[in-house]
């Protein structure tokens, strides 16, 4: 079993690092709400419920240990969003960061978009490691010199200083969403991006903050007829005119912005017919799609609903090409999960760099990987117990009935408060970031 899943059947996943508080008493503000690698994988950003963004940077591989990948250390921390109060509706606007998306790097600085329920912000993260010294009119501490004492001229010179990383908000995109923003996605043209809330999707230009263009609107004229909401949206990785959005009814719509200004009419509708033998009162709820991600190639897209991960070929709308069961043993527990609201948990999913493996989270701090090529899957656990440096993760197994074997865990023993909703995969290497409630685990393959 060891080695199953993850870029070939010989990959073994090892613990690398864990970030966050050790104690079990979780502060609400520390709950991680999003995780995202940048395009090179050098930077790893997390957002939390307290509105903060923490960016980790991978250390350069040292010559001493050529086989060991660099560790991720804190690079920058800043408060992205603050709680607000909507006076008109007498409601709080949470500062929780719903999504972070990096922009492709164009110069020395890094840019990312972060969003809460209502406002998107563009942050510039830049380094400063030199400072000018030797001004003519100012002292080193900034005080102005008496001009009469200036007798010579000199040219200020840059001297090295301790590295300082500065994060500054460059744009604030506000007041465009009536409902809660669930997704942002940067276009491949690097000039525009979309933001999606429950009922509408807006298109923005990264330079323009006072205007956005509504491209999808599913709000019914009569709100009493509302039965479906938008749950996620993403731009195609290569085609700047194409995007998809998923719904609470388990459908995905692909839209082409060239077709019309308002993309209410989809170009393609992806929907799998319901399996009549599995119908129940909960069928619709568990079919609601919580995440949609294009493959890096742009040929496929992956959707996550409550019990499964599905891979769709963009050329075939009738059904997915692959379906992976994440935790089918929960199907008989749906009523309890409905009662405790776990059935509404929104799990995310991600692709590895070459689209051969997909990963998603589950309960009890388990996460699952599905190797598409080798048709293997593995369940791993993110826990402090298996946190010895470079210790290999042992595959876990959930016992669904009958006699429980050693090392198996029974369904009734699962901790539904320990859920892994957010995971991310390094764009090139086998390094993954897995967020438990308030800890970030980094695992990498054994070299």
């Amino acid at each position: 079993m060891a080695g199953a899943g993850g870029g070939g059947n010989d990959v073994q996943w090892c613990f690398s690092q864990v970030k966050g508080a050790i104690d079990d008493d979780v502060a609400e503000a520390d709950i991680i709400s999003t995780v995202e690698f940048n395009h090179s994988g050098e930077l790893l950003a997390t957002g939390d419920k307290g509105g903060r963004v923490v960016i980790f940077q991978q250390e350069l591989e040292s010559k001493n240990q050529p086989l060991c990948r660099g560790e991720y250390n804190v690079y920058s921390t800043f408060q992205s969003h603050e709680p607000e109060f909507d006076y008109l509706k007498s409601l709080e606007i949470e500062e929780k960061i719903n999504k972070i998306r990096w922009l492709p790097q164009k110069n020395a600085a890094q840019f990312l978009l972060s969003t809460n329920d209502k406002t998107i912000k563009l942050w510039k993260i830049s380094e400063r490691d030199k400072r000018p010294e030797g001004y003519n009119l100012k002292e080193e501490d900034g005080r102005y010199r008496d001009p009469t004492t200036v007798t010579t001229l000199r040219v200020p010179v840059f001297h090295p200083m301790d590295l300082m990383v500065e994060a500054s908000p460059r744009r604030v995109f506000a007041n465009a969403h009536t409902y809660h923003i669930n997704s942002i996605s940067v276009n491949s043209d690097c000039e525009t991006y979309l933001s999606a809330d429950d009922l509408r999707i807006n298109l923005w230009n990264l330079e323009i903050t006072d205007r956005s263009f509504n491209i999808v609107d599913i709000k019914p004229a009569n709100m009493e007829e509302l039965t479906e909401v938008i749950t996620a949206a993403e731009f195609h990785p290569n085609q700047c005119n194409t995007f998809v959005y998923s719904s609470s009814k388990g459908t995905i719509r692909l839209c082409d912005m060239r077709a019309s200004a308002l993309c209410d009419q989809h170009s393609k509708l992806f929907e799998e017919p319901e399996d009549p033998s599995n119908r129940s009162f909960f069928s619709e709820i568990i079919s609601s799609i919580s995440d949609v991600k294009f493959s890096h190639s742009g040929r496929y897209m992956m959707t996550r609903d409550y019990l499964t991960v599905k891979i769709w070929d963009l050329n075939m709308e009738s059904r997915p090409v692959e379906t992976y069961q994440v935790h089918e043993y929960l199907r008989s527990k749906l009523c309890s999960l409905y009662e405790n609201d776990c059935i509404f948990d929104k799990f995310e999913c991600c692709w590895n760099g070459n689209d051969s493996v997909v990963m998603t989270g589950s309960y009890n701090n388990f996460f699952r990987m599905f190797d598409r090529g080798y048709r293997q899957d593995v369940t791993l656990e993110a826990s402090r117990e298996s946190s010895k440096p470079r210790s290999v993760l042992k595959p876990r197994k959930v016992c669904t009935g009958g006699k429980r074997k050693k090392d198996e865990i029974s369904v009734d023993s699962l901790d539904f408060n320990k859920k892994i909703l957010h995971t991310a995969w390094h764009p090139q290497d086998n390094i993954i970031a897995v967020a438990t409630t308030n800890n970030l685990y980094i695992f990498q393959d054994r070299l």
């Binding site: 949470e94 709100m223 009493e224 039965t227 909401v229 609470s248 009162f281 619709e284």
Partner: protein, 311 residues
């Protein structure tokens, strides 16, 4: 706890009023029952609830049917409570609310299909306990009017817990009241209210009060139920041709939260196959706030006001 007490009472209620005519329920529901039966058994029995099985025969089929209908009813109860509990400081999660609302619709449609909806109504239609005559009468009266066929438009009042705003409207100098079909807003009540289910619950709680005499919570719940039925009129901006000044005044109001309320109150609209097709007889216009608008007979309104005032 009130909620548990209510659930157990609701089960007893079903025992009393229940139909055995649940025939022909689809096999996939049976699977659903079997899947969850363990959960339900554990849940119900662990609370110490006594269940009365039906008379005599207890054919396996009857048991299953009863179990299934109990399960379904409990699911309905749970869903309604979930919807009501979304009045929090932060805006409720719309996706979750929509999914729960759809579940409730689904259950209601099924209950209407197999006739259990009507049976609930008949059980409480004319013989509500006197304590609840107010709530009962209004709702029964609405029903009676409907059955007269057309006639004056039907309406109800909507109560909101901590209703924050009232948007006063004139529609050609008439005050219009938006309504669902005769039950308070789902969001406005602590205990769930659902058309005739509200009557049933009110009756149940009255029984609790009478029987135990000490269920303060239930008693207060019943009062809350009644209070909420006539909580606040919510009058919404209806037609585009409304008074311009008022429109301007309220044009900046972001109605999204009320959109959610409206969406949820639509659950109260009767199913298309039910006997209470109130909405069918109403003209609807799509105002800026996208709520269905209906005119009402002023005399009907006066009558309601009289009840409220208690004259």
């Amino acid at each position: 706890m009130c909620r548990l007490a209510f659930w157990s009472m609701s089960l007893q209620c079903w025992d009393d009023a229940l139909v055995s005519a649940l025939v022909g329920w689809p096999p996939w529901l049976e699977a659903s029952v079997q899947h969850s039966s363990q959960f339900w058994m554990a849940n119900m029995y662990s609370k110490g609830t006594k269940r009365k099985f039906f008379d005599s025969v207890d054919a396996a089929m009857d048991n299953k049917a009863a179990l299934y209908s109990r399960q379904r009813q409990s699911l309905l109860d749970m869903s309604l409570i979930k919807l009501q509990l979304c009045h929090m400081l932060v805006e409720p999660n719309m996706c979750r609310s929509v999914l729960i609302a759809n579940t409730v619709r689904h259950i209601r449609e099924e209950m209407t299909h197999d006739g259990s909806w009507q049976l609930v109504t008949e059980a409480f239609g004319g013989s509500g306990p006197s304590d609840h005559l107010v709530a009962t009468e209004v709702l029964c009266r609405s029903s009676a009017l409907e059955q007269q066929g057309g006639g004056p438009k039907l309406y109800s009042v909507m109560g909101y817990d901590g209703c924050r705003e009232e948007e006063v409207v004139t529609d050609e100098a008439l005050c219009s009241v938006t309504f669902s079909d005769g039950a308070p807003s789902l969001l406005g009540t602590i205990d769930h209210c659902w058309d005739r289910a509200e009557l049933r619950m009110a009756a149940v709680e009255n029984r609790v009060i009478k029987d135990s005499g000490s269920e303060v919570e239930s008693g207060e719940g019943a009062k809350t139920v009644m209070g909420q039925v006539f909580g606040t009129f919510e009058i919404k901006n209806v037609a585009p041709g409304s008074d311009l000044a008022l429109e301007e005044l309220f044009s900046a109001v972001d109605a999204s939260y009320y959109d959610l309320d409206t969406m949820l109150t639509s659950i109260q609209s009767t199913p298309k196959m039910g006997p209470y097709n109130l909405l069918d007889s109403m003209a609807s216009s799509h105002g800026p706030t996208s709520n269905s608008s209906c005119r009402t007979d002023l005399s009907e309104l006066d009558h309601i006001m009289e009840i409220i005032v208690g004259s």
